[in-house]
């Protein structure tokens, strides 16, 4: 993190931040100038026209001038409309997430955050996101109202129990930033904290791939992925016939294929069947398996293969 923030604003760590800060400082300087003018005039008048002597003097009333009154209706009105237009434009930008944004699901409950990634990985207390890539969070709550706030990104939105709300941001700095809950939610409200950890694209990909693994063994992690990826819809693990062949005792089993070839199932065959299922179709089964599993990360594939090999 290069930028440490200013007296008023925390560091700028998203693409929105500089725009919001520009808006803030615009309002700030206009306010300051007007404030100094009005309060300066007040102080000057107090000094210049303070009551002297015995107070016998009653000053003549001033005539009211419509021009003056209208001027200080019109002047502020123009300034306000200017600020409104700017605020409106920035709000549009803030509200509409780019179509290619990386999607993460957020669940809030009293008093914890939980983040779920497209591959099914689910973690609490830290939100890892790639740098320089738009990220859209789709949020909902399990109980009462919460609100998702990252000051360094200048984003905030309430998290409701009966509907989805969303925020998006594009982090510009690698580093750690605070997440606060800003809608009062009871005893643990001020402890409902989490961190955004912004990583480089590669680090992030590698983390997402293994993030669910934690300190599990590859076989245990493989079993989690097996259910997350819905493998069991087609492949049983107890020997019953499904849409696809059972995986029970697959390692070392002789397989006969529709093109007439055959082989003894080994690690390479299992891996190939996951990432390129159409290559070899077991006889009597339809070529029903999609090729989408090729997008799994190497560590995940290793874990799946290890799990399938363990099914004796």
């Amino acid at each position: 993190m290069g930028d440490k923030g200013t007296f008023w604003m925390p560091e700028q760590a998203s693409t929105l931040a500089s725009e919001i800060d520009g808006l803030f400082y615009f309002v700030f300087w206009i306010s300051l100038i007007l404030f100094v003018a009005v309060i300066g005039a007040m102080v000057y008048f107090v000094f210049r026209y303070r009551r002297r002597g015995d107070g016998e003097h009653i000053p003549a009333p001033l005539a009211e001038r419509k021009v003056v009154e209208i001027a200080w209706i019109a002047g502020p009105l123009i300034l306000c409309l200017l600020v409104f237009t700017w605020g409106f434009k920035a709000f549009l930008k803030q509200s509409i997430a780019p179509a290619d944004a990386y999607q993460i699901q957020v669940r809030a409950s009293s008093w914890a955050w939980n983040f779920t990634y497209p591959n099914g990985t689910s973690v609490g207390s830290e939100l890892r996101v790639p740098v320089d890539r738009p990220v859209k969070l789709t949020m909902s709550s399990d109980d009462v109202l919460h609100s998702f706030f990252v000051p360094s990104f200048r984003v905030k939105f309430d998290v409701l129990p009966n509907r989805y709300t969303s925020v998006w941001f594009e982090a510009t700095e690698v580093g750690e930033f605070d997440i606060f809950c800003t809608e009062y939610c009871g005893t643990g409200h001020s402890a409902m904290l989490a961190k955004v950890i912004v990583q480089s694209e590669e680090d992030f990909k590698a983390w997402v791939a293994t993030s669910g693994m934690g300190d599990m063994t590859p076989v245990e992690y493989g079993s989690v992925l097996f259910s997350q990826q819905n493998c069991a819809v087609c492949h049983s693990v107890d020997g019953t016939r499904g849409v696809g062949p059972t995986l029970k005792g697959l390692l070392g089993r002789p397989e006969q294929f529709t093109d007439g070839t055959s082989l003894i199932a080994d690690d390479n065959y299992i891996l190939e069947s996951i990432i390129n299922p159409a290559a070899k179709i077991v006889d009597t089964y339809p070529p029903a398996m999609p090729a989408t599993y090729s997008t799994l990360q190497p560590q995940q594939l290793d874990a799946l293969v290890a799990y399938i090999k363990s099914l004796e």
Binding site: F7, W8, E19, I20, L23, F24, V27, F28, S31, L34, F35, V38, I39, A41, M42, F45, Y49, R50, R51, G53, D54, G55, E56, P59, A60, P61, L62, E69, W72, I73, P76, C80, V83, F84, G87, F88, K89, A90, F91, S95, V144, L145, F149, P151, S152, R154, V155, F157, P161, N162, R163, D178, C181, T182, E183, Y184, T187, H189, S190, A191
Partner: protein, 561 residues
């Protein structure tokens, strides 16, 4: 006669006045006299302010360091909720209208009383009943839902929310009846010659407030009824677990509570107009603009409630509309500020304690207004919403605005209410301490907010510690200043000099046509009004009939001109 001898001049109090014509307890408890009712409100409301103020000091003390200092998170949540509820519903909303409105409004109009004196007494007792329900909730186990009662948290947290919804409903009823009473009083009870263009601006302020009270308060009433039944019967209007919608509650709540902000600030505008005119000895510049801007604010105030909900889940279109109207409301407010400062131009400015409060109001309310504009900016509000910036902003408006104006008004009318002068030197010291303490307490909170410190936090990250510490020190200075005020005002009752009927040389009827303290029926004879409320240069001209001569002679003696 010099300015200093004016206030030190020995005045003789009238032998019979509203405080001593009947001293029995019954004559107080069942009084129909608007002045006595105003005084009873003053005692009640000041008590609520002190209790809520002590709670505020506890909140600030807990926040001096991160982690636990003097209370647990549960206690903290109850303490800040109680602070908010008592300050809003038992102090700020009734403060100026019920205390000074009651005491001053009929006298400003040259009337003997408000239109419905019995209803007035009833509103007082209804208000007391509401206050007792709040105390009941305090004893039964407290409420920790904040003063906003957002569902579904409030439909699940402690059962004393039931008490609290009742309390708000009952206190609201009192507010409605007071507003209704004042509207009719302004329309029907004006003295001969007192045209709308000659009304003191305090009357305009109270009148605009009353309109808001009558139109907005029933909505919070029904909201509280629905919330009550939600907890009691699970009717499922607001609680999503039962199929309800929490955002609907926020719409209902803010439809009242945003106009309620103007219930709190419009009477303050009225007092400031009086103070600036009297202590500059100049008619308010742009009288009609100042008067009508109050009414404009009252009506626009109904159209901006959604600016509390930019990040709540309402549609983006509504957010944009609410933001736009929010700016429009800044315009009439600005008109007032400019006109007040213009009133001082070429005036003869007398820096007595009430004027010090008026000047500090201009300073603090300007900051409150500008931070309000910042919060109305759609994209910026996303960052600032529900942070300490909001806390700082509304304290600048509510406390820096309303409380400071109420203190100014209390000092201004104190001689009229009690017939005694307070210690001017202590008054100035206290006003300065309050001003300094207030800024230290709340300016730091603005900075905390832009830095991202969320509100209603019991604990916080170490990087916010310095600012929180400074803010707590400020609250001690502020508390000390307020304590000094309490001390010298009470002391003045026993040892204060007797006030003359018009120590400030003001030109409104309560000063020119009534003794200090006033007669039980305010005026010995119905005044006739032949000039504006701030025509100080016409002060010495004859008006009224036979009886007024004595008062005018008195005025001439005390106030040159």
């Amino acid at each position: 006669m010099s300015a200093t001898t004016l206030t030190t001049r020995d005045a003789t109090p009238p032998p019979v006045h509203y405080l001593n014509h009947d001293k029995s307890l019954k004559s107080w408890l069942l009084t129909l006299d608007h002045k006595r009712i105003g005084l009873m409100y003053l005692v009640t409301v000041a008590t609520a302010f002190m209790v809520a103020g002590v709670l505020a000091m506890l909140v600030r003390y807990e926040l001096i360091n991160p982690g636990m200092d003097i209370m647990t998170a549960e206690t903290y949540n109850k303490v800040f909720s109680m602070h908010g509820i008592m300050m809003v519903f038992l102090f700020i909303i009734p403060s100026i209208p019920a205390v000074m409105g009651n005491f001053v409004l009929p006298m400003h109009l040259g009337a003997k009383d408000v239109a419905f004196p019995r209803l007035n007494l009833a509103s007082y007792y209804i208000f007391v009943a509401g206050g007792l329900l709040v105390v009941g909730a305090l004893i039964v186990g407290n409420v920790d839902a904040g003063w906003t009662f957002y569902t579904p948290y409030s439909s699940r947290s402690s059962d004393s929310v039931l008490f609290m919804t009742m309390a708000v409903f009952v206190a609201g009823f009192s507010s409605i009846l007071t507003g209704l009473n004042f509207i009719v009083t302004v329309h029907k009870m004006r003295a001969p010659g007192l045209t709308w263009n000659r009304l003191p601006l305090f009357v305009w302020g109270i009148y605009a407030t009353s309109i808001v009270q009558v139109l907005a308060t029933p909505v919070i009433g029904i909201t509280m009824v629905l919330l009550f039944f939600e907890r009691l019967l699970g009717i499922g209007i607001f609680d999503p677990a039962l199929g309800g919608d929490p955002v609907l509650f926020q719409h209902f709540f803010w439809f009242y509570s945003h106009p309620a902000v103007y219930i709190m600030i419009l009477p303050a505008f009225g007092i400031i107009s009086e103070l600036i005119a009297v202590f500059s000895r100049h008619p308010i510049h742009g009288y009609r603009f100042v008067a009508l801007s109050s009414v404009a604010i009252a009506f626009l105030g109904f159209l901006v409630w959604g600016h509390h909900m930019f990040v709540s889940g309402q549609s983006a279109i509504s957010a944009v509309i609410f933001s736009l109207i929010t700016y429009l409301i800044g315009i009439p407010t600005g008109v007032k500020m400019f006109n007040w400062v213009a009133t001082m131009y070429r005036g003869s400015i007398w820096l007595q304690t009430p004027m010090l409060y008026a000047l500090s109001f201009l300073f603090l309310f300007a900051i409150g207004g500008f931070t309000g504009i910042a919060l109305g900016v759609l994209a910026l509000d996303v960052h600032l919403h529900d942070t300490y910036f909001v806390v700082g902003h509304f304290h600048y408006v509510m406390m820096g605005g309303t409380v400071i104006a109420a203190l100014g008004g209390l000092h201004y009318w104190w001689p009229k209410i009690t017939g005694k002068m307070y210690n001017e030197m202590l008054g100035k010291i206290a006003a300065a301490l309050i001003f300094v303490g207030f800024n230290i307490t709340f300016f730091t909170q603005l900075v905390l907010g832009t830095q991202g410190m969320p509100r209603r936090y019991y604990d916080y990250l170490p990087r916010f510690e310095t600012m929180h510490e400074v803010s707590t020190y400020g609250s001690w200075i502020l508390g000390a200043g307020l304590f000094i005020v309490l001390f010298y005002l009470l002391a003045s009752l026993f040892r204060g000099r007797t006030a003359s009927s018009n120590p400030w040389g003001a030109a409104t009827l309560e000063w020119t046509h009534a003794t200090s303290p006033p007669d039980p029926h305010n005026f010995h004879q119905t005044p006739i009004v032949s000039r504006g409320p701030y025509d100080f240069h016409l002060l010495s001209e004859e008006f009224g009939d036979g009886h007024a001569t004595q008062e005018i002679a008195d005025t001439r003696e005390t106030q040159p001109g």
